[in-house]
């Protein structure tokens, strides 16, 4: 048995995972249309390479990656492109994004997919390229381009790959279900990932509230010598990358750093499968398993759903009662955001759509004054001081916010969960983080313009000095010439005088 460690803080919210019947997947079916945003990942948006009216096949690239931190988008099924325009997309700030709308023909015709015969024989560059072209971005909810994560090549390399099947958010059972149903594919994916980054150890991390998933993984892991399933007590937010590393390895990712800094790589089980599918089957990311749950649904559960399926249609497959819900949440109840428009599509990061009733998740209570009880600091898994951060965020004291490591806040919401005064702490932190980022950008901008200004000043001075030098030289030359000129005149006068004197003398 591997020793496990505890993290600071954490909470035990009501899990309600049974509602979505983990371990069973049903197909969401063919929606009437798909709406595919060009940004389903963190980074630069993909660029559409189809036009309205084009027919597309399943698996066809419809938007290609732009720049290094970007991934392409593929059509999940065959049909016709009917629109390319800005639409509401799942985003914490309710932004819009360019979306490619595909009207499906129902035939589900696919391009032919060519996998690698033996991925072990390929170079890392080829494998990375495959991962990138398959449009893989962290499917656990963060959406960071997987190829970038795999490529980051720091000193010391990666010694441990962690497949993060913690799934500590209440309600969500997508990873649990994927682990129960596709354990072998996860192990295959993990083997590829470990090979790519050179990790000697593969840890399959599962919280102890998912015994079936742990058992399935244990069974599948027999095929991979370097793999070990580790279970640990259920506590939110054990699934946070940095928290999980601390639980498994008793090591902390440095403030502002990433797991690769200490030789660790974390990947979600579904991401591992996507990597496996991309390399062995040659298939891009076009579907995902999403938990559809909440008491506003007659038939909650896990669905295999095409990316781009409107959330409304997904909810309808589960018997959605719109009357009883006053919010629909993209993601889980702790970190998910409220959906503003049910026409928004399911995207790569949609691990859950939660439609609770009003009594299940009541509207927020009014904020009261902070009574400095300190419960937030007890709950914070990042060992920050939420109360101080709250005061500094309200005072907009950016120096203090930085000194108190606001940027290390993972926005898990544990502080706000326990706050007896119902202060929406995470909202304050998000807003303050935005200002800090803005200030950092502003600083870069002003530093740049100062450098530019100083360079210009210097150039102007240099030019002025050069002009001055030239002028002085010209003046000196002119004076010299003038002097020389005077001499000539003098000489001429002398000559004229001499001539005159001579003439007079001759007369």
């Amino acid at each position: 048995m591997r020793q496990i460690f505890d993290i600071h803080g954490g909470i035990h919210p009501s899990e309600r995972k049974d509602m979505s019947n983990p371990g069973w997947i049903s197909d969401c079916g063919m929606p009437s249309k798909l709406v595919l945003p060009v940004t389903q990942h963190i980074g630069a948006p993909a660029r559409p390479i189809v036009e309205v009216g084009d027919t597309v096949l399943g698996g066809q690239t419809i938007a290609e990656a732009q720049g290094p931190v970007s991934v392409p988008v593929h059509a999940p099924s065959s049909g016709t492109v009917t629109a390319i325009e800005a639409r509401a997309v799942p985003h914490a700030s309710g932004l819009t994004d360019i979306c490619i709308e595909i009207s499906l023909d129902g035939n589900d015709e696919w391009v032919s997919c060519q996998g690698l015969d033996n991925w072990r024989d390929e170079t890392k560059a080829v494998l990375l390229d495959r991962v990138r072209l398959a449009g893989i971005a962290g499917l656990g909810g963060a959406g960071f381009p997987t190829a970038i994560k795999l490529a980051s090549d720091r000193d010391g390399g990666i010694h441990t790959l962690i497949i993060n099947g913690t799934e500590c958010e209440p309600y969500i059972t997508a990873d649990d279900t994927v682990m129960q149903c596709f354990a072998h594919q996860i192990i295959e994916g993990a083997e590829i990932l470990a090979h790519m980054v050179g990790a000697e150890t593969v840890l399959l991390a599962v919280e102890d509230n998912k015994p079936e998933a742990a058992e399935a993984m244990r069974h599948a892991a027999e095929a991979l010598d370097s793999a070990e399933v580790v279970t640990f007590p259920t506590k939110y937010p054990s699934g946070g990358e940095k928290q999980l590393i601390e639980i498994l390895l008793n090591a902390q990712v440095p403030s502002g750093g990433i797991p690769a800094d200490i030789g660790v790589l974390c990947q979600n089980p579904s991401t591992a499968i996507a990597v496996r599918d991309a390399l062995i089957d040659g298939k891009p990311v076009t579907h995902r398993v999403t938990t559809v749950t909440g008491m506003s649904l007659k038939d909650p559960g896990n669905r295999r759903v095409m990316l781009g399926t409107p959330i409304k249609e997904l909810l309808d497959t589960a018997g959605f009662n719109a009357e009883s819900a006053d919010r629909v949440i993209h993601g889980g109840p702790m970190m998910g955001f409220a959906v503003t428009d049910l026409d928004m599509p399911v995207v790569k990061i949609t691990n859950c759509v939660l439609a609770p009733t009003r009594s299940e998740i009541p509207p927020p209570q009014p904020q009261q004054a902070c009574i400095r009880c300190g419960m937030c600091a007890e709950a914070c898994p990042a060992s920050l001081l939420p109360q101080q951060l709250y005061w500094y965020a309200r005072a907009k004291d950016q120096d203090q916010l930085e000194r108190h490591n606001l940027m290390d806040c993972i926005e898990c919401g544990a502080c706000a969960y326990v706050c007896p005064s119902h202060i929406p702490l995470v909202q304050y932190y998000r807003s303050a983080k935005g200002s800090l980022r803005e200030a950092a950008k502003e600083k870069v901008r002003s530093d740049n313009s100062r450098t530019r200004f100083e360079a210009r000043q210097e150039r102007l001075e240099r030019e002025a000095a050069a002009r001055e030098a030239k002028r002085a030289a010209r003046k000196a030359a002119a004076e010299a010439r003038a002097k020389a000129g005077d001499d000539l005149v003098q000489a001429a006068i002398e000559r004229a005088k001499a001539k005159k004197a001579q003439q007079e003398a001759e007369q």
């Binding site: 702790m334 009261q368 004054a369 300190g374 419960m375 007890e378 919401g413 706000a416 969960y417 007896p420």
Partner: protein
């Protein structure tokens, strides 16, 4: 259907509110108050009831003066906690004006001049206590004798004392720590032999059990995760270390 747009987290710890925290603090004082009442009669209870009523009135008045909603904050029990803590610290059978001054100072100067709930730099009850202690030292040190030494007053006596203070001078006695101060010349051991007030099973008669009862309330609060142990243990440890550093075989300075 209009969709609610709120920030995460969407769920909140059940039954966790300022009101709930204050209620738990009040519950935690019950064992201590009961033991106090057993040893010293209903004076403390009368103090608390009278003080809480006054405190609610002061709080409502202060909120009204500040142009705030004065109905909802009254329900958070915070001012009742302040009143209870102050009244526990006051001598039982304190005159009404002593309580009124203490509560007024606590609520107005301790709490509302700084901005009300959560903005007070000091514990309001202790602000009130300190003001009373420096202003009315005589009334503040007039404790009755504990059961076993003196006669414990009844409820009628308690109300009489509240509004006619002078009638209870006869039964007042010094608290154990006062006894040590008044008898600075005696050694610890001799003094506990000589004075019945100090002959409790553990420490001062009655007082030891009062303190254990408050400790029980504190441990319950600790288990309810209302506070963490570091501050009280730190303070008590600091006291113990300083007292121990002056230990001279039991003289007055050894324990004060």
């Amino acid at each position: 259907m209009s969709l609610l747009h709120v920030s995460s987290p969407h769920v909140h710890k059940p039954v966790s509110s300022v009101e709930q925290v204050m209620k738990q603090v009040l519950l935690a004082t019950i064992p201590g108050v009961l033991v106090l009442t057993w040893f010293f009669g209903p004076g403390t209870l009368v103090n608390i009831v009278f003080g809480s009523a006054l405190a609610l009135a002061f709080e409502a008045w202060a909120l009204w003066l500040r142009g705030k909603d004065y109905k909802t904050p009254l329900r958070d029990h915070s001012v009742v906690v302040t009143a209870t803590l102050l009244c526990i610290a006051l001598p039982p059978y304190a005159p009404w004006w002593l309580i009124a001054v203490g509560i007024g100072v606590s609520v107005l100067l301790g709490k509302h001049v700084f901005g009300g709930l959560g903005y007070n730099p000091f514990n309001p009850a202790m602000v009130g206590y300190v003001v009373l202690l420096v202003s009315f030292p005589l009334q503040m040190s007039s404790w009755t004798e504990p059961r076993g030494i003196g006669e414990v007053p009844g409820i009628v006596d308690a109300f009489t004392a509240l509004f006619a203070a002078s009638s209870y001078d006869a039964v007042t006695a010094a608290t154990p720590l006062d006894l040590f101060r008044q008898n600075a010349g005696m050694l610890f051991g001799d003094l506990t032999q000589a004075k019945a007030e100090l002959a409790g099973p553990i420490a001062g008669l009655g007082w030891d059990l009062v303190n254990l009862a408050f400790l029980a309330g504190g441990i319950w609060l600790l288990r309810q995760r209302i506070f963490i142990w570091h501050a009280p243990v730190g303070m008590l440890a600091a006291h113990a270390i300083w007292a121990a550093s002056g230990w001279d075989e039991g003289g007055y300075y050894s324990i004060a």
